[in-house]
Amino acid sequence: MGFQIADVTLNSRFFLGTASYPSPQILQEAIAASGAEVVTVGLKRQMAASGASTQNDFYAMIRSSGARLLPNTAGCRSAREAVTMSQMARELFGTHWIKLEVVGDEHTLQPDPFELVTAATELVRDGFEVFPYCTDDLVSCQRLLDAGCRILMPWGAPIGSGQGLRNPHALRTLRARLPGVPLIVDAGIGSPADAVQAMELGFDAVLLNSAVAHARDPVQMARAFKLGIESGRLAWEAGIMAQQDMAVASTPVTGRPFIL
């Protein structure tokens, strides 16, 4: 069933990254298998003697996939850098959507909440639809909403780590405290089970890259995630039963079958 995000209706709740695939052909097939309608892309500073690179083949293929583009500001360390990068992305990709990334720590690539809020404030004022890659801290998420963000993308675990959801409690808290805000788990997803868990927590979508790109068979893994994300969403909508401490008989027998 379709859902609304940033004024568009999407059918797929799977946002797919496009980096690190073995070939443009495999990336193309993975996008198709995933059913993703939104894919992330990036910007790279050109080298002094930059010629035509294989990156151009990848980008041409992504364009032809028909998926909506979500450019990122990967590599930015300050709000100022991220704002400039966003402006360049808007021109280059022809979209006002931006996945705002500002890294605050080199080892964990943890988002910097202060720089994020500064950049988001300026970008929203400039007409961008900001998808901030943020931590799962409730108050910094609220500040991003105050800055004008309409979507939040908290991490499940550090980028590329494949650790899954390290803090389900924090994610559950975000869902409970921010009803109606589109929430996307971005980063850290390792296996389809992690994506199922995110969707069962009531998240609106999942964004991942490495878990598909680094699979032995990225195309098949894209399909595995597609099914997992659909399954988790259906479960959330259906309502998951409450856990019980002890067994609760499911077959409606009348006492014991034989009195011996």
Partner: protein, 69 residues
């Protein structure tokens, strides 16, 4: 002719004073719409490149589309 020093993607260049950004970028051979540009960390829109006059010491960077996560 007076020359000024600029850098283009980190490489030192000498260009005539009053050169525009568009002129400095023309040598790369890339189509104008295939990259984005910034001077001293500030974005310069494609349409503004011809009117943007370079100053001595300007650092120009260009960016291209790539895959991303």
């Amino acid at each position: 002719m007076t020359l000024i020093n600029i850098t283009l993607n980190g490489e030192l260049r000498q260009v005539p004073a009053d050169s525009s950004l568009a002129e400095a970028l023309a040598g790369s051979g890339q189509p104008a719409q295939s990259f984005a540009s910034a001077i001293n960390g500030e974005f310069v829109a494609r349409d503004a490149r011809a009117q943007t006059v370079l100053a001595d010491g300007d650092a120009i960077f260009t960016f291209q589309a790539i895959t991303g996560g």
